[in-house]
């Protein structure tokens, strides 16, 4: 049985202004989040694929990896096509009827924290973030787990250059 919320009494005076303040704050937070996602996405795009494909040892470590994966930063999604360890394609927004092997979906807060230098405790690893509910690993996880350190290293590339 679901408990229905009781109807709110009409607000007056100070309570009304507090409500308006809260709405303003909520709008501000939403705007900040959107700005944050744009910034985070730009950092992601500046690092990937360029800094993967120019790192010969990283590509070598992924030489047996061929996969399509979805990376989500807040509400922004990227589709990566990886061939023999090289990121051959990065698409956003997603093409029609896009398909992928697995997805890594993180909140903007998750990526923001992960890409700090150093990242704060409990926000410093994909699994730390998934344990705290800020990140989800979905789909066929075999390509991810078989090349886990490769993906951890690729997805930490946007950290480089972050201010301490």
């Amino acid at each position: 049985m679901v408990e229905l919320p009781s109807p709110c009494p009409p607000l007056e005076g100070k309570e009304l202004w507090l409500q308006v303040d809260r709405q303003d704050q909520a709008m501000t937070n939403a705007t900040d989040t959107a700005r944050s996602e744009i910034t985070l996405s730009a950092r992601f795009e500046s690092a990937i694929p360029a800094r993967v494909n120019t790192d010969a040892h990283l590509v070598w470590r992924g030489r047996h990896l061929n996969t399509r994966c979805l990376i989500q930063i807040g509400k922004t999604t990227f589709l990566l096509r990886i061939v023999a360890g090289r990121v051959e394609e990065r698409r956003t927004p997603l093409p029609l009827m896009a398909s992928w092997d697995f997805a890594i979906r993180g909140s903007a807060s998750a990526w923001h924290a992960l890409w700090q230098a150093p990242p704060p405790p409990g926000w410093h690893d994909l699994f730390a973030l998934s344990k705290r509910g800020e990140m989800r690993l979905e789909g066929d996880l075999h390509p991810l787990l078989a090349h886990l350190q490769y993906f951890k290293d690729v997805l930490s590339l946007p950290r480089t250059g972050a201010e301490s």
Partner: protein, 283 residues
């Protein structure tokens, strides 16, 4: 390095029965004084304590001993291992530690264990406290929530060493020196197939100690718990909750350290460990 350097620790093999099976156990030791037995983490080996074995501030006062559990490091599994899945149980773990201490006739040693070694230290405090001078649990808690499916650790289509190391890499603090980070990962890369997973059977299934530690007498056997702030497997909250249920436990949360203090950042760790050892020695 301009010239060769021989480190002070000595490694030897010892044959001893554990649960009725003959085991050939490798151990290293250095120093003299109060015996200090060190227990490595799941899926790793005694190399994790190499820095302590070379630390004169410790070995001047303690006889530091670190052994590879059967199945780990240079200790073989007992005969017939190939016929069964390896699963570490509380019974086997306690028997291994007591057998090692008895075989070397150690007089009321201090035992310090990390991760699964930290968990078993709690069990030792609970069931065998009178045998030890003091107990130190690193990254220790009565229970911690799992954060991945352990089946990934042992399957034919994923390299066990690679996936074990990659999973635990996040448990190392970002501040830990690259040299020691990658030595720690190398330990996991070298573990035998299914050994890390078998150790986690103890950790996740067999040794949930919640509600079972109320009778620990820390006046008889002092208990110290030290946990790194970057350990999201055994979190600071897990250790603090555990300590809150054991009156007299002394807790330290270590900054810029993860799940492998002695191995990933020995300099940072010793700044927390030395005062504990001094208190034990003086006590």
């Amino acid at each position: 390095m301009s010239r060769a350097l021989i480190e002070p620790m000595v490694g030897r093999y010892m044959r001893m029965p554990i649960l009725g099976e003959e085991c050939r156990v490798y151990f290293e030791e250095a120093g003299q004084g109060i015996p200090l037995v060190c227990l490595h983490t799941a899926g790793a080996d005694s190399r994790q304590f190499r820095h302590m074995l070379c630390d004169e501030e410790i070995t001047d006062r303690f006889r530091v001993l670190a052994f590879d559990m059967p199945w780990h490091g240079k200790s073989y599994p007992p005969q017939g291992w190939q016929e069964r899945e390896y699963r570490l149980t509380t019974e086997r773990y306690v028997a291994s530690i007591l057998a090692f201490c008895d075989a070397l006739e150690l007089d009321r040693p201090v035992v310090m264990g990390c991760s699964i070694g930290g968990r078993i230290v709690l069990q030792l405090a609970h069931a065998h406290g009178g045998r030890f001078r003091a107990l130190i649990g690193l990254e220790a808690a009565d229970f911690q929530a799992p954060w991945y499916d352990a089946d990934w650790l042992h399957r034919a289509d994923v390299h066990g060493g690679e996936v074990c190391a990659a999973l635990i890499s996040g448990l190392i603090a970002p501040q830990s020196p690259a040299l020691y980070r990658h030595e720690t990962l190398w330990q996991y890369m070298q573990s035998g197939p299914g050994v890390f997973k078998g150790d986690l059977y103890f950790y996740r299934v067999d040794a949930d100690l919640r509600g079972k530690l109320g009778d620990i007498d820390t006046a008889r056997c002092p208990l110290y718990l030290l946990t790194g702030e970057y350990d999201f497997s055994c979190t600071a909250e897990d250790t603090l909750r555990t300590a809150a249920g054991i009156p007299g436990t002394k807790v330290t949360i270590m900054e810029e350290i993860g799940h492998f203090p002695m191995s990933e950042n020995p300099e940072q760790f010793r700044s927390y460990l030395l005062p504990v050892l001094e208190e034990i020695r003086a006590g």
